[in-house]
Symmetry: C2
Subunit: 112 residues, 2 copies
């Protein structure tokens, strides 16, 4: 189950173009902070702030070796967000199924 604050964090993290760009980049393999900053075209400081948001929502993990921090995807956040969306969609589809069944019944009744 995805808790309220966790869902807030994940979707808020995904609601920014630069942060989604980071995720898209990291699905292709790890990258350093400077590489991500260059990709985004913002300062390293801004990139660090984005990374904090991404890590708090379990979308990205990172490890510092020497003076270099290497970032990679953390699939937990992605899975949580996907799970929430799938729950809503399936709840909606099941409701439509039931609704369709009721309408079929009504059609049959009016035919008889």
């Amino acid at each position: 189950m995805l808790k309220r604050e966790a869902a807030d964090r994940v979707f808020h993290a995904l609601a920014d173009t630069n942060r989604r760009t980071v995720i898209e980049r990291l699905t292709r393999g790890p990258a350093t902070v400077s590489e991500l900053a260059a990709l985004l075209g913002v300062t390293v400081a801004a990139t660090v702030q984005h990374l904090r948001v991404l890590q708090d929502s379990e979308l990205v993990r990172s490890e510092k070796v020497g003076r270099v921090r290497t970032c990679q995807i953390d699939p937990a956040g992605l899975r949580n967000a996907e799970a929430w969306l799938r729950r809503q969609r399936t709840a909606w589809e099941h409701r439509l199924d039931r609704l369709g069944a009721v309408l079929d019944d009504q059609t049959k009744e009016s035919e008889s």
Copy 2:
């Protein structure tokens, strides 16, 4: 393909607890503005603002009959968000597959 601004809108819409509560409610069936306001515990005016965000991101549709506006799920937004997440996850999984294959090859080579 989910465009940048569309993705910004959808994920931003989902990043608010009250708006997700509206979506969860609407997967169970339509509701009026006042019903949603009562559910959220905020003013009707605030609810209308949330609904505008949800409609702009194609997560909710609504129709006004007489003086009552009835809201329901619009599956387009949900599908868009789910599609983006699935794309990232599968890109990530494929990368892991390739990485695994390379490691297997290296293992075989070192064995021979």
